[in-house]
Symmetry: C2
Subunit: 441 residues, 2 copies
């Protein structure tokens, strides 16, 4: 297998252009997918369960006459969990417990304060009523993803978490079902694709309408989420997964090579980049890549990903590495250096930062505790890991006392007249009291 990977140096005269070309990623939207998804959503909105059954038969080869048969009963989830191999079950439990412990710290609380005149202001934080969790079927069916999406929702206090998962030809993934049971998912339906997203967004007789849809999916699912957004909340639309490793050259080169592989094995578009000031270490990592490649079961995917989108980049120093990292705003950032605390403050944007040589990304993917759903493609500049905050919402509370309204009413009226909104002004003036009114009717 090829172990080709781009080598760059920030000292090259054309480095900026090379670096930009390496990072260039623009999501391609397929007009065929867009129109197919529009049709599917329209059908599910207008024909409900009937359309859902038809698409499930057509796309998943699951033919049931009654939509109720699409639901997996809770005891089947429990049975799946109970039947797991002991060691796998224990690992899943450890992961769930750690993810829950971390996310419990994210719960936002309501607050309120009272001013001298009795006016009270506050922010009330409440969970969403109902969340939908999309879980892909087939190859990319990841139990860890069920935990990472469902646990924050339950920690937030969401009453009902509805999971949808396609079961092509009726094949169910018992580990996914076990994870659903462990995470506290309330109901599971064996539907997928754009039709499942439409059902969650608008509701059918069988599938309840949710307030937000989260979870990964293929191009049809992503397009469907984009289209139903507004009727329902959605999480981010993820791009290909990426890792950026900043290494001081002191970590075992095999470890770094394997960390690059672990990202590359996701798919051909995944991106793995290493920044290091030590050219000799980059050579070692390249040698490790060459030596380890053929031991990897997913070598074909890894080789393609490294060849097309990977890079080993020699930088001037770790300061420059941090500056380049801030330009990338990576999804996963390994700070594989001896003294990560000395450098972490220079990193302004990243989904998750893995500090020190022992913190491989894979620990975070499964069980460290923080979420593995992270902002991709530079969106860490403005967005955050999936968290409890994605399943809570805020309402402002305003209680103007009689005295408070006199003061606020005059200010509001002045500004409203300034903006040419006289009904706003008069509504405020009523609260000031007749003698304060500027305009009497």
């Amino acid at each position: 297998m090829s172990s080709q990977i781009r080598r760059l140096s920030s000292a090259q005269s054309d480095f900026k252009a090379q670096f930009r070309a390496l990072l260039a990623y623009e999501e391609q939207r397929d007009p065929h997918v867009e129109s197919a998804v529009a049709d599917i959503i329209h059908a599910v909105r207008t024909k409900g369960d009937e359309a859902l059954l038809e698409y499930t038969k057509r796309f998943d080869r699951v033919d049931v006459s009654d939509a109720a048969a699409l639901e997996i009963p809770k005891d089947e989830l429990k049975r799946a969990f109970d039947s797991l191999d002991d060691s796998l079950r224990a690992s899943l439990e450890t992961a769930a417990q750690r993810v829950r412990a971390f996310h419990e710290r994210q719960v936002a609380e309501s607050w309120e304060y009272t001013e001298a005149d009795g006016t009270r202001l506050g922010q009330r934080v409440t969970p969403l009523d109902r969340a939908g969790l999309y879980v892909p079927g087939g190859k990319a069916a990841y139990p860890s993803s069920v935990l990472m999406n469902a646990v924050p929702a339950k920690v937030a206090g969401v009453q009902e978490v509805i999971m949808v998962v396609p079961t092509p030809s009726g094949v169910r993934n018992p580990i996914v079902l076990a994870a659903a049971w462990l995470a506290g998912v309330d109901r599971v339906f064996t539907v997928g694709g754009a039709q499942a997203v439409a059902a969650l967004a608008y509701g059918t007789d069988t599938i309840p309408r949710v307030d937000k849809i989260v979870g990964p999916g293929n191009a049809y699912v992503a397009e469907a989420k984009r289209r139903v957004f507004g009727a329902v909340g959605i999480d981010m639309i993820a791009g290909p997964s990426e890792i950026l490793i900043i290494c001081d050259g002191k970590t075992d080169a095999d470890w770094i090579a394997m960390d690059l592989f672990s990202q590359a094995e996701h798919d051909e578009m995944a991106q793995s980049i290493l920044l290091c000031p030590d050219a000799a270490f980059l050579d070692q990592v390249q040698a490790s890549i060459k030596r380890l490649m053929d031991t990897m079961p997913r070598a074909t995917v890894i080789a393609t990903s490294l060849k097309n989108r990977g890079a080993l980049i020699q930088v001037k120093d770790l300061d420059e590495a941090c500056a380049l990292s801030n330009e990338i705003a990576p999804e996963h950032l390994e700070l594989s250096v001896q003294d990560p605390d000395a450098w972490v403050g220079k990193l302004r944007h990243a989904g998750a930062i893995f500090m020190g040589p022992y913190s491989s990304e894979s620990l975070g993917d499964y069980c460290a505790g923080p979420n593995h759903v992270l902002p991709t493609a530079g969106t860490a500049r403005f967005s955050s890991p999936l968290g409890v905050y994605d399943f809570q919402k805020r309402s402002s509370l305003i209680f103007a006392s009689r005295d408070g309204a006199r003061v606020l009413g005059e200010v509001a009226a002045e500004l409203a007249y300034g903006e040419g909104l006289p009904a706003h002004a008069r509504s405020a003036e009523y609260r000031v009291g007749p003698k304060f009114r500027k305009n009497q009717e």
Copy 2:
């Protein structure tokens, strides 16, 4: 002027259908706008300032040859502020100070915890580097909107807030510029439309690229924000503004009528609904509407809005009013009752809740403190008022100690093998140490 407004009662047999029809709102997207905006964005991305100047000349009739002339210097902002009428300036200052005080309570702090084996986990909260604020020109130029968008960004710690505001035929709104100065906006450019959004999203030689774009705009601006999302963060795409008033019949009917007007005067699509169990009070409000209508400068807009989208609805009791409100998830919710604290707990979804007869929505629009940018069209089911949290982002921090990595590595490897991701597993196993490794190369 007509003072027609729909009367409904929850006791009617067809109430559910009537209620649903009243609320039905689906954003219409215009293919002409979509393609025009796509062209504008493409031009600004590829030709930068040149395209920006050309569009500004064509759409705003502002013809400058040097893009630098599009910037309004900071001292002009200060002069605008200093030249305000004393009373208006004082009102603007009070509003800014109150908005700032409220939003300071929204600042999220970083946190971290250490486990027994030395593993550290945390969440780092940092501000966005740079935010863009779109301010409409012409009629809808609202200084209050400048405060509501810019203050949270500055409270969050955003280093640079870039404001864009079109100045059709070169006319600048001094109150808007004064508000920008007061809110601490860093730079102001006189550009607007899709071209301004594109410039903020991708940067030009003159206008710096931002990380997130907030602020209201017309259909072109909304479509442009939708298209650049991903390259940059955006706030919500707002639908028409709405108010729902729940009244026990004890508030002055004129006050309630004027509160309905204050929403209706925004535009013909704005929605004003009153829920009250007291039919006689609904009659009084209807009489107030009739009497007050002709005194309103914006009576034409108000009458159209009330006729097409307004309603006075008799409910069985306040419990039913709360249940209906939860179905609507209103942007603005006035709980105009004698004892609002007894009822507020039953209201699950709303952008802002105005409690008691003195808390008119208009107080919140200008100066109570909470933000006036609120989720519309039922999106309060899953989203929140604009806030400091929209200008902060989180990064997860994971520092696995050597001992911690042994435990986590075994769990991660087990789960990774279960998901068919062997490079993930081996990357974790490296951190466990050779003797623990399941698969030796």
